[in-house]
Symmetry: C2
């Protein structure tokens, strides 16, 4: 029988409730009188800090620098790019008073910062020598959502937004895909999530973009999570904001633009891909605490071994948490499971007499016995951390692949449309077919798979000439 | 004759203009249509990132963890603590609409987050076992200032706010001073600013605090900058928010609270203490780029030496920037001076023939010749970085001390009151004397010097019995 935690609903009984239970039991989030916003508690925030530190390094290694724009946008500035306004206006928060005075012009709290970057770029871009500009910003944004779910959909979101300007279309398109690849790599190598990178259909593009690329993750329940996007803007914003540079032929030209972002939503994805009925399961490469150490009994040998182990872990740069509370070992084991530490180490007097300690893998719950030589323990830990990381990826990929379907015609499509997962179709390229799938089956297009877009088979939906491959799926 | 940069006003001619010129020429800040807010440009933001990374480690080393609260505060929540509301209400931004709807209850953008932390603490604090809670938050806050100056006074401010809860008054008071010491140490060791730590008078306390401690820095022009504060709240907020815990005697009690914060204002302080008429001067321990490398001429030997030097700097974890643009060496030298790289290295073909390169200290403009052995260069760099760091501190301290006055009576006080700097007085402890100094001389009390508060001399102002030592000075 599968082990269970009484405070956590089974994910196979009620996935939504399971998700909320995990978040609450692992102390990731709390709620306040600020409706629709969440408090990210220390352990939840530590996961975000871990993501930020890896991504920030990846951005800097690809030549990007960080800046900080204001959080407010005057209404007139926001109104400059039409598509953009139409996309965002229904869901923004408005500041109308400052101190005791009504503002002459109301301002919105940024839902995204394209217009602020564009206003700045207009001032600082003069010649091709000023390009490329590779800027990124870590900040919070606000979107006035009606229904919210922690990490997945919230009125306030922590994110990063890259905004870059380039001399040529080619460079800007390369940047768009470079950053999509950074997201793909990050999510595969660190989050152990086998995302599908691809291009969005015109219907699903970002408001103001020429192309939107996405990394689509599939959750344990088969539902899609759009886990990061990268946009090619062409010269649209540059023209609207009248940004021009002297090119190498000494002619004035509008630069080519990109933007790309990921959010705290990735924490939701992390939970819904790997965690189980005992609590969080965190991949070692992103877990803020890699080892949970649990002393059993209060004896000198136990304390000494733990002290030596802690020193060695610190030297090896492996994070740990030792549970020195006066609660029972069983309670501590359950807590370590809820928190998803990749490895739990149990150090007990009886075991020490036999010169051994026990390591427990969070992903498989397998128990591994090690001798008490500290070097040997560290070796075993490093070995297990690697095994856990790759096992989590492989498990997620196998599960994901088991829910990927191919439909060659409407009959096949109907057969799969009720099942959890994604359906790969051939697509004629018309919005009619895409729209009819949404209306008739409640499924939204996910993406055209990257580097494998074209199809020579008939359109799955209308059987006319197919042009593209296209994934469909339910989404969070 | 002192060297000058034509684009920078002399600081002895117009200090305010000099400050703005430095900020603009060093590309620290830009302005936008968002009045009163600033854009922090990459080089300015890199200084903040450098401060954040050091401070965040200092906070974590003293047991603190980071969290993230919402940026909005419902009006009713804000209204719970009376003194607090009165202090902040005149300068907050109000969100009154979300999407297309008027909000039922308007919300303010946080000017500080005490009430959000308190609401959360009420939910999670139950017993003494839950204490202490040592939380910190990195975020932006908004205060609707009428007059703004970059870094010094802005509508939106980047900062950190620590909020902690303790079992006893003693522990909370210790925490208040511990964090004041962290700020003092940080500013001395990293920013090379010899701050005066001390206690604020009741008149100058934070709205809602029992005690406010401050680190007071003196700028080059003798004007004070309050460069960080740490507050002891006692049980005030806890009572207002009805936060209670079961103490070790099994009785319900209100916990004891602190809060403490520093902001991007420190960047303003950094500029106004160390920089000169050639541009920024950054202390090596906080400079995001420690070395500016300038090739002179386009020859192979120059390129090779620079490549080897860059590798060695990377290995030694010393940040650098190589200016490979096609501008003249003179232009590049001036730019390196404006940016305040602690050391500039000039690598020229003629020098290399004589087996030498030139290092220039930003603080003294002194030229040092080194041989071309990479190991020797790195040794010289490390040596110089240490010298520059301590020289900047010493210079700032000597200048600061030259503008510290002691006044034993009103006549002496009047004599010094027109001079730039701080005046140390003996104080009877009444608000009347403090107020009369403000009204008659335009000087505000700075602080009662830490660990040296008491005075047995007569009050400088009224000549009645003195109780405390108290600094006065003009402030930013």
């Amino acid at each position: 029988m599968e082990k269970n935690n009484k405070k956590i609903t089974s994910r196979d009984v009620d996935f939504a409730k399971w998700y909320n239970d995990i978040i609450s039991e692992a102390d990731l989030v709390d709620y306040s009188s600020v409706k629709g916003s969440m408090i990210i508690r220390p352990y939840g925030y530590a996961i975000w800090e871990s993501m930020v530190s890896v991504l920030d390094k990846m951005f800097k290694d690809t030549g990007h620098v960080n800046v900080q724009m204001p959080m407010f946008i005057p209404e007139s500035l926001f109104n400059i790019e039409k598509d953009h306004v139409e996309g965002f206006a229904p869901e923004v928060a408005w500041v109308t008073r400052g101190g005791s005075e009504k503002l002459e012009e109301r301002m919105l709290v940024r839902p995204t910062s394209e217009v602020l970057f564009c206003e700045h770029y207009k001032k600082i871009i003069k010649s091709y020598r000023d390009l490329p500009l590779l800027y990124n910003q870590w900040c919070t944004i606000v979107r006035w959502e009606k229904t919210t779910r922690p990490f997945l959909r919230s009125r306030e979101i922590l994110w990063q937004e890259g905004h870059t300007m380039h001399e040529t279309e080619k460079e800007a398109r390369e940047e768009t895909l470079r950053m999509l690849n950074v997201y793909t790599d990050f999510q595969k190598k660190y989050l152990a999530i086998p995302v599908i990178p691809g291009r969005k259909t015109d219907k699903e593009k970002f408001a103001g973009a020429e192309e939107t690329y996405t990394v689509e993750a599939m959750m344990y329940d088969g539902v899609a999570l759009q886990n990061g996007t990268s946009h090619y803007f062409g010269q649209g914003f540059a023209k609207a904001f009248d940004i021009k540079f002297l090119n190498q032929k000494n002619l004035l030209e509008n630069p080519y633009q990109t933007s790309w972002g990921v959010t705290t939503r990735m924490i939701g994805g992390l939970i819904m891909v790997h965690s189980d009925n005992l609590g969080l399961v965190l991949p070692p490469n992103i877990a803020p605490i890699k080892i949970g150490i649990i002393p059993i009994g209060d004896n000198k040998e136990v304390k000494n071994l733990i002290l030596n182990l802690e020193k060695a872990l610190t030297n090896a740069n492996i994070t740990y948490h030792t549970d020195n509370t006066d609660r029972s070992p069983g309670f501590k084991f359950a807590e370590a499971e809820v928190k998803g530490y990749p490895i739990r180490i149990e150090v007990g007097a009886r075991d020490l007499k036999e010169n051994k300690i026990t390591l427990v893998r969070r992903d498989t719950l397998e128990k591994i016995t090690s001798n008490t030589n500290i070097e040997d323990i560290i070796k075993e830990i490093n070995n297990l951390l690697n095994l856990i990381q790759s096992n989590l990826y492989n498990k997620a990929e196998i599960r994901r692949n088991s829910m990927l379907y191919k439909a060659k015609d409407l009959k096949e499509f109907e057969k799969y449309s009720d099942k959890p997962g994604f359906i790969l179709t051939s697509w004629c390229g018309t919005e009619e077919c895409e729209e009819s799938v949404k209306e008739n089956y409640g499924l939204k297009s996910r993406c055209l798979p990257l580097d494998d877009e074209t199809s020579d088979k008939p359109c799955t939906i209308c059987q006319k000439k197919g042009k593209y491959k296209l994934y469909y799926g339910k989404q969070y």
